[in-house]
């Protein structure tokens, strides 16, 4: 589990935060949750909150922040604030879809592999380890380049990167849980393998899935932004933080810093929010820290 967690950048951020805040995990979790709720509300109510249509020219290009356009406008005269708000939609949607796909691949494979063992286990483990050993972003770039743009395609590219983390956690836990006495007890009452797997083993590995899931979301958002930044993401003019970031940095030299700053801040804040939140979830679900009584 720990070795798997190291794969996530968000895990390292979380540990760092814990160092800074001391052991005040409660506060970290609370701030994290508040940030997440804020962004989820932005995403859901984007049409109501955003002052302008994010895809339409509403002013002249590269207008600095003013009362009219709080975050300024970009090179095509679109409102940066509205784009950042709408960008939350894309970022969260892709992250959630990617995480769900990754879990949907990793969990069943992990369950089967860990429970049955033998040759099958070795083959699946070999494939998953091969994927796992690739640097995440590079692998996602390769897959995204093959699949082409589109929400689902990006989600799949990210999912492939993170499926092995679910697989590893689940497989290793199942392999040890299947020797637990309550699994033997289930066999003794005559339960079929599929029943043992779903009712006796799965509920016991789910807490660690939740931990991986929450860390995975933060990393998925970063990977998505990375892909868009490199032009492998959503096709313009859809508002997307990663794309806006790369678009904005072209005009920094002409002193238009706002096009770069605000999408960047959005990415940083949301990733931080997920990292904080996942650190709290992790602590709460980690049985070794839990009170023994």
């Amino acid at each position: 589990m720990n070795e798997v967690k190291n794969k996530f950048i968000s895990h390292h951020i979380g540990s760092l935060l814990k160092e800074i805040f001391g052991s005040g995990t409660g506060i970290i979790t609370f701030i994290g949750a508040a940030i997440l709720i804020f962004f989820v509300i932005l995403a859901i109510f984007a049409p109501q909150i955003a002052p302008y249509d994010p895809t339409v020219r509403v002013s002249r290009s590269l207008k600095p922040p003013s009362d009219e356009f709080i975050f300024g406008t970009d090179n095509l005269g679109r409102d940066v604030l509205s784009r950042v708000i709408y960008g939350a939609r894309i970022a969260l949607t892709i992250a959630f879809i990617a995480v769900l796909i990754a879990a949907a691949i990793g969990i069943p494979l992990g369950l089967i592999s860990g429970y049955i063992g033998g040759i099958l286990d070795r083959i699946i483990t070999l494939i998953m380890d091969a994927i796992y050993s690739f640097p995440g972003l590079i692998l996602a770039i390769a897959i995204a380049a093959v699949l082409g743009p589109g929400i689902l395609n990006i989600a799949i590219s990210i999912a492939v990167v993170y499926a092995p983390t679910y697989y590893r956690v689940i497989r290793n836990q199942v392999a040890s849980i299947k020797d637990e006495l309550y699994v033997e007890a289930a066999r003794a009452i005559g339960a079929r393998n599929i029943v043992i797997l779903l009712r006796y083993i799965l509920p016991n590995v789910l807490p660690s899935v939740v931990v991986v899931l929450s860390m995975n979301l933060a990393d998925a958002i970063m990977t998505e932004a990375g892909l868009s930044f490199l032009g492998l993401g959503i096709a313009p003019p859809t508002p997307d933080w990663g794309f806006d970031l790369s678009n904005g940095q072209r005009f920094v030299l002409s002193k238009a810093w706002w096009g770069l700053l605000y999408p960047g801040l959005a990415i940083i804040t949301v990733v931080l929010g997920f990292s904080m939140f996942s650190e709290g979830v992790n602590e709460y679900l980690n049985p070794t820290i839990k009170e023994k009584r």
Partner: protein
């Protein structure tokens, strides 16, 4: 009394992991001879005690009879029907009639399953009861029988919310819900506190009478056997050393090991304590990978006969009515 279980020459040898060199040079894996040729019968309605120290093979024997692990050799008969080679569905169906109560009730219960669901699960698995309501009634009934009252309150609790004794009651309820014929109680009372232990022993006795059960009562604690066991088997290092009625074993133990075991039980009465003569053998149970030759107890036995006990394995002899012992002293 009719015979319910017959075990013939049952063996279980666990292979040890070989080192790389051993695997390459094709040296056969070394074996832990956990159970090494035991034969006995259990009559319908009786409680047979299986007594021994750790490493005696008593727990393995219980699991072998229930087919929870595969025997290396030997036969197991349940009501004259061979169950040694039953597979998949047939084996699953058989489990309705043969159940087990484990030592550690916390570990034997799925922490994420409500205890009512845990008790109901065997009914679902074996399709007993036509409706959910009927199954629930059966479960409530059983929870009441094991004194988890009121049952509706207990149904929705999780194992961690119960005390050790209550958890063991759940495990007992789950084992008996399908109305089995035969129950293995594997150190079922060992982890409980003294006052709770006697409560549950009484419960096991009551349930046995009510459901006409046959128990295999596996324990390391000779003192509890007197309340529940009709006959006792004493095991040492994978072999049976003595079989007899409770009185045979307790009042006139024949095998030197049985004698040692009985005299080692701590005596709470200070007067008896002081007058009691102890026959404590030296050393500990040897490693079952390389058990001693001949009689396995001979290196620790105070009565060991030179050139006999270390060479020749003693066979089972009937020394009085239904009292068997495997010892050269009775040749």
């Amino acid at each position: 009394m009719k015979e319910l279980i017959r075990v013939e020459n049952l063996k279980k040898h666990f292979p040890l992991k070989r080192s790389l060199i051993e695997a390459i040079t094709r040296i056969p894996p070394r074996l832990v001879k956990a159970v090494d040729g035991v034969s006995f019968t259990i009559k319908n309605g009786e409680t047979l005690g299986l007594v021994g120290e750790s490493g005696s093979g008593k727990t393995t024997t219980g699991r072998l009879i229930l087919r929870l692990i595969e025997p290396t050799n030997g036969r197991i008969l349940f009501e004259d029907k061979e169950i040694t080679s039953l597979k998949n569905e047939a084996l699953r169906k058989m489990r309705k009639d043969m159940q087990i109560i484990f030592q550690d009730p916390m570990a034997a219960l799925n922490p994420y399953m409500k205890i009512g669901e845990a008790v109901r699960h065997p009914l679902k698995i074996h399709g007993i009861g036509s409706s959910k309501k009927e199954q629930l009634d059966t479960v409530y009934n059983m929870l009441e029988k094991v004194n988890l009252t009121p049952p509706r309150n207990f149904y929705n609790r999780y194992p961690k919310e119960l005390s050790g004794g209550q958890r063991q009651r759940v495990v007992i309820a789950r084992a008996l819900i399908t109305n089995p014929r035969f129950v293995v109680a594997d150190e079922a009372l060992a982890m409980l506190d003294v006052s709770v232990r006697s409560q549950l022993l009484q419960l096991l006795l009551d349930l046995k009478n009510e459901f006409n059960l046959t128990y295999l009562f596996i324990t390391h604690d000779l003192a509890t056997t007197k309340y529940i066991c009709d006959r006792i088997i004493v095991m040492y290092l994978g072999k049976i050393v003595e079989i007899g009625s409770f009185d045979d074993i307790y009042r006139s133990p024949a095998h030197p090991y049985t004698k040692a075991l009985i005299s080692a039980v701590p005596e709470p009465d200070p007067k008896i304590q002081k007058s009691k003569k102890k026959l404590i053998p030296q050393g500990e149970v040897p490693n079952p990978i390389n058990p001693p030759s001949g009689c396995r107890f001979h290196p620790r036995c105070p009565y060991s006969i030179k050139n006999l006990c270390s060479v020749e394995e003693p066979v089972m002899k009937e020394i009085s009515d239904n009292h068997f012992v495997a010892c050269h002293l009775f040749d």
